[in-house]
């Protein structure tokens, strides 16, 4: 089943104002750069974005924030972005902060048809407010629900025409779970290859979870904290 689309314009076709999006990546690592740039161009607004982080001021989701296209962020950590801080403190931006493991599991649950699950994370904190608490094996847990998105946008290293994806190193992060949880999942890849070229044993995201795939262009792959040692 050929899922290949020819352009980033086609990739984001159908994404409208006030929709909920999931965007893969951890920090700036493994983010769908091409699609984000296109969303900035599109001018749509009122977006709810589910993403572990919110980019930096001039890259990643920071670009959409700067343009005031985001109404609400659902994230676990947003500490690298001044514009984010400003919009949040001024009340322009709604923010839902979720423990990172719960965020990952809630995306997976959304894709896996699990409407809710119990986790110990956040018990006794403000994250637990309004949530059911139940003890299992003498330990309190809270009930967390599945997350879904109108569109999930992920970035992979390699992908084939059937939508099968392989990620590289820690650029995998949230991408596989989000790919599962989008009503429509868009994958931008560094290397688009013919079906049959990827070893079926080594595929991280089976093509069934992907509706559109395209060859990304000019990946900047910016490094947030360049740490090195001397030789």
């Amino acid at each position: 089943m050929n899922k290949v689309i020819e352009s980033v314009e086609q990739a984001v076709d159908g994404i409208k104002s006030n929709m909920t999006l999931m965007l893969g990546g951890f920090g700036l690592c493994g983010i769908p750069e091409n699609s984000i740039a296109q969303l900035v161009k599109s001018g749509i607004s009122g977006l709810t974005c589910i993403s572990n982080n919110a980019g930096v001021d001039d890259f990643g989701l920071g670009l959409l924030l700067h343009n005031k296209q985001i109404k609400k962020m659902i994230s676990s950590y947003v500490g690298e972005n001044d514009e984010f801080e400003r919009q949040m403190l001024s009340g322009e931006l709604e923010v839902d902060l979720i423990p990172q493991g719960s965020l990952a599991e809630r995306c997976r649950a959304g894709g896996a048809g699990i409407p809710a699950f119990y986790t110990p994370a956040g018990y006794g904190t403000e994250v637990a407010v309004g949530k059911e608490v139940r003890e299992f094996n003498g330990k309190p847990h809270i009930l967390e629900s599945a997350l879904h998105a109108d569109f999930a946008i992920v970035k992979a290293w390699k992908g084939d025409t059937e939508g099968n994806l392989v990620y590289k190193a820690t650029a995998r992060n949230f991408n596989p779970m989000m790919a599962m949880a989008g009503k429509i999942t868009i994958a931008e890849v560094e290397h688009l290859v013919p079906a049959g070229e990827l070893d079926p044993n080594e595929i991280h995201t089976p093509g069934i979870f992907v509706q559109r795939i395209f060859q990304g262009q000019h990946f900047e792959k910016r490094i947030e904290q360049r740490t090195t040692r001397s030789r």
Binding site: F26, G27, L28, C29, G30, N52, S75, S76, Y77, V78, G79, E80, E85, M88, L89, V95, L97, P99, Q100, G101, S102, L103, A104, E105, C107, R108, T119, P120, A121, G122, Y123, G124, T125, E126, V127, W157, Y167, K168, A169, T170, A171, R172, N173, F174, N175, P176, M177, H204, K221, R222, I223, E224, Q225, R226, T227, T228, R229, S230, R231
Partner: protein, 218 residues
């Protein structure tokens, strides 16, 4: 007097046991990796999806696709593996990680910890901290005994929004090693040259001292 950050890290490193998988938080905890005792083999997990983290890369060998949870470029050791965030937190929540070391703004005498939010100021988010503290059997907090204003961070009750409840078992500060049990900080060791009286005066929470308290071997 007391230890500096490296001293705290060095003392925590003495807690490592061979064969452990370890998650180190940002800040002082990261420094622990520099003091692994000889003959001890441990493996470092980073919650963004890597097991078997190595040192920073040589200049020019940075890979944007290979970072740790602090977004720093890293390398991997032989036998490393990559995985997605759900699997990463399966390791953490499922207690496959034997030791978690993280920083804190406050710790209470019953083991509560606050380290993610100061109301009215910037809220950066809890990241993976809530999952880590709620799940780990073995949590060591690495922090200074008092904040910059000289106020104790070892309290009867945390004043800041909590990250987790009754979860911290051990605290290593610039002044002392303390075990938390039965609603109190039990003084296990003093930093070199630091008196029990000084520790007592800088600990707001219930401090238990029994017998002679040895100095850290550091």
């Amino acid at each position: 007097m007391g230890l500096d950050k490296n001293g705290i890290a060095q003392r925590i490193a003495q807690e490592l046991r061979g064969g452990w998988y370890v998650n180190l938080g940002i800040g002082i905890p990261t420094l622990v990796a520099n003091y692994i005792p000889e003959g001890i083999e441990v493996e470092f997990q980073s919650e963004n999806g890597v097991l078997g983290m190595g040192p920073f890369p040589f200049e020019g060998e940075e890979d944007a696709d290979l970072i740790n949870a602090g977004k720093q470029t890293i390398t991997t050791m032989k036998g490393a593996s990559f995985f997605d965030s759900a699997t990463s937190f399966s390791m953490i929540r499922g207690q496959h990680v034997q030791l978690t070391v993280l920083g804190a703004m406050e710790v209470s005498e019953n083991g509560d910890i606050a380290n993610w939010k100061i109301p009215g100021k910037m809220v950066k988010g809890m990241g993976g901290a809530m999952d880590l503290v709620a799940s780990a059997d073995n949590i060591i907090v690495a922090m200074m005994h008092s904040n910059r204003a000289g106020v104790s961070k070892l309290l009867k009750e945390c004043s800041l929004p909590l990250t987790g409840v009754a979860c911290v078992k051990k605290v290593v500060t610039d002044l002392a090693v303390l075990e938390i049990k039965d609603g109190a900080f039990h003084l296990l060791e003093r930093a070199p040259g630091v008196s029990v009286e000084e520790i007592q005066s800088k600990t707001e929470g219930n401090l238990m001292v029994s017998g002679d308290v040895p100095e850290m071997n550091i």
